[in-house]
């Protein structure tokens, strides 16, 4: 793992990336705690361990770009700058949540920020992303769509239908595969006859690449920048596979009996947050004190979010029937 630092980025931005990754981490650790207390229900899919992907890919996007993702969406939402308190309130099912409490963990939305939803049917978000990109191309806009998906999703037929359509129509969409090695408890190799997944996209004539260092936010960012440039130049879709790891279970309900500690441990060493802060320290771009200050700041932000979520009202009964039709 490289210890150098992407030199094009100003120090402030490096610290922002670190802070965002830490924010995602703490947001989720505290969510898990409140899940345990019963303040949060349903499924809660934690992104812990994969923070470098969301931050590496989303930080270089423009405001007019759009994001579509799956149910493991907290990281993408926070990386996109969605309001932390409103995200937490959504988990608490409050009317102040990002989806008015109606979506929950799996269905974060913020249309103003171009965040077109977490989607909970595996693979279902792909055609949607193709459609958003179709509109861009039709209108001659040069903004793009990023579509996150998991390694498990590529086995759904919708994946291939979407690759073909995006390729055939030369649409500005970045498919961002978070290959964390598992779909629930099933290893990639047990689910995919082609385990080097980006090759599937390539075969539909979608330009593709695998980034092995998915825990290294700079590596992810570099790879994303290449992809973004390719797309903005009008070359059509791009498929970026990023290798990462899910530190926790699939959801809070997962007993994680399908993988052994000796497999997990080397990955825990590759904690993207630790990697980044170590490198910033090693390159004298920050200090232990500054990192402590960030931690405190993040802690405060999450505490405030929790406070906000706790104090916010639940939707009123008559809201049950609003938002069905426009």
């Amino acid at each position: 793992m490289s210890t150098s630092i992407d030199s094009t980025l100003p120090r402030s931005e490096l610290l922002t990336m670190l802070r965002t990754m830490k924010l995602i981490r703490r947001f989720e650790e505290r969510s898990a705690e409140h899940y345990g207390r019963g303040n949060i229900g349903g499924f809660l899919h934690l992104y812990i361990g994969e923070e470098a992907v969301a931050v590496g890919v989303i930080s270089p996007l423009r405001d007019d770009d759009k994001i579509v993702t799956h149910y493991r969406d907290h990281g993408h939402a926070l990386a996109r700058g969605m309001d932390t308190a409103a995200c937490m309130a959504e988990l608490f099912g409050k009317s102040t949540g990002v989806s008015g409490g109606k979506g929950g963990s799996m269905h974060f939305f913020d249309v103003e920020k171009g965040f077109m939803g977490g989607h909970a049917i595996v693979g279902g978000q792909l055609p949607l992303a193709v459609g958003l990109a179709f509109a861009n191309r039709y209108r001659g806009e040069d903004s793009l769509v990023v579509c996150f998906l998991g390694d498990g999703a590529v086995n759904e037929g919708e994946f291939h239908e979407s690759m073909n359509l995006a390729s055939l129509w030369n649409l500005p969409v970045l498919f961002l595969l978070e290959n964390n090695g598992f779909g629930m408890g099933t290893r990639v190799e047990r689910a995919s006859a082609q385990p080097v997944i980006h090759r599937l996209a390539d075969r539909h004539n979608v330009r593709s690449h695998r980034e092995e260092n998915g825990q290294d936010v700079f590596a992810v960012r570099e790879a994303a920048l290449d992809a973004i440039e390719y797309i903005r130049d009008g070359n059509g879709p791009y498929f970026l596979e990023v290798m990462t790891y899910r530190f926790r279970g699939h959801s809070m309900a997962d007993p994680i009996e399908y993988r052994q500690q000796h497999e997990v441990e080397p990955w825990l060493e590759l904690d993207p947050i630790k990697l980044l802060s170590d490198r910033l320290l090693a390159n004298d771009l920050t200090t232990a004190d500054e990192i402590n200050a960030i931690d405190e700041d993040v802690e405060n932000e999450v505490n405030e979010a929790i406070q906000f979520a706790l104090e916010s009202p639940f939707p009123k009964p008559d809201e049950l029937y609003s938002d069905i039709y426009a």
Binding site: G97, V98, S99, G100, G101, K102, G103, H107, F109, D110, V111, M116, G117, H119, I121, G124, L126, P127, L128, A129, V130, G131, L132, A133, F134, A135, N136, Y138, G157, E158, E161, S162, N164, L165, L168, S322, D323, I324, Y325, A326
Partner: protein, 323 residues
């Protein structure tokens, strides 16, 4: 007033939409070079260009989802699913995204897509190609389901569908394309949730939609000979459903028979009968009855296929059983 076929009325509505809004496009299998499998979009590609009349691969989930995405981006897609049978391959996108995105986002999103498709049997196309599945969509909150029985309604409802900010399943019947009716020259629209009294009568309410409306009107003529004066209600849209019109009718006639083409068991008629029970029970002189299709996979063989589809005689017989 011009006499138009159902097909031409729909063509007119589509062309109007294409001309009035550059963000309207038509997408589907063989809608372009082939001209549409029921020739509804014949010539459109030449007229409006390949950018707007888009032939898709055979990938219902993919291209319907693409239409949904474009709608979410604010465009006005009109997506054709060649027949409603194939819509099962896109059901995930329709039911899980088109119908729910607005709600799940707390109202941030709207999905102004029109999904045109073709329902019904009677063409000897056998079990996989003869289903009437609109009732499945008609129960999904977030969708609207439109079922025109004639040219004038088709045009008026299509205009409303295109203008509607919600996902609309616009369901046509393959055996209606050649049917003609008077279509007003002046501009009109038909709002969703407004059933039509297709024939007024005093003795029984026959409630139908799509192709069973002309069939029910024929039944009403047969019933004249029995001295039975039937009212025929055309539901026109299943979701929203105009219950008031048929409830008022039942209050007047005291008898109801619901007619549809789909398998009788578990059909949409059950909804109508449940509504009648709830809202007009005391008016009923007899049970609210129904005539649906045979509960079988549709056979190819013509004599068998004919037994699967409600005829005017079957409707008239059911009505007679109430007297």
């Amino acid at each position: 007033m011009a006499q138009l076929t159902y097909r031409d009325a729909i063509r007119a509505g589509l062309e109007e939409a294409l001309r009035s809004n550059p963000e309207v496009f038509i997408m589907g299998e063989d809608v372009g070079a082939y001209g549409g499998s029921y020739a509804v979009t014949k010539g459109f590609m030449e007229e409006y260009g390949e950018e707007r009349i888009i032939d898709t691969p055979i990938a219902e989930s993919g291209f319907v989802g693409t239409g949904i995405g474009a709608a979410i981006a604010g465009m006005s897609p009109i997506v054709e699913i060649m027949t409603i049978n194939f819509s099962l391959l896109a059901m995930d996108q329709i039911v899980h995204i088109a119908a729910k995105a607005r709600y799940m986002s707390g109202g941030q999103i709207s999905v102004p897509i029109v999904i045109r498709t073709v329902s019904g049997g009677g063409n000897m196309l056998a079990a996989t190609h003869s289903q009437s599945l609109e009732g499945w969509y008609a129960r999904v909150p977030g969708l609207k389901v439109v079922t025109p029985s004639n040219a004038a309604d088709a045009l008026g409802l299509l205009r409303s569908a295109v203008a509607d900010p919600n996902p609309v399943m616009f369901v046509e019947h393959s055996l209606l394309y050649g049917s003609r009716s008077e279509v007003p020259d002046e501009h009109y629209t038909i709002p969703f949730g407004s059933a039509r009294v297709a024939r007024s009568g005093a003795d029984v309410s026959i409630i139908a939609y799509l192709r069973r409306v002309p069939i029910s009107l024929q039944a009403a003529e047969l019933l004249e000979d029995d001295g039975i004066d039937a009212e025929v209600i055309d539901l026109r849209t299943l979701l929203p459903l105009d219950t008031q019109t048929f409830i008022d009718s039942v209050h007047k006639t005291n008898r109801a028979v619901v007619v549809e083409e789909t398998w009788e068991f578990g059909g949409f008629a059950g909804e109508v009968i449940a509504q009648i029970n709830e809202k007009a029970f005391d008016s009923l002189d007899g049970p609210a009855l129904r005539v649906g299709g045979a509960n079988v996979p549709t056979p190819y063989s013509r004599p068998l296929e004919l037994l699967t589809i409600p005829t005017p005689e079957m409707v008239a017989d059911k009505v007679r059983s109430l007297f």
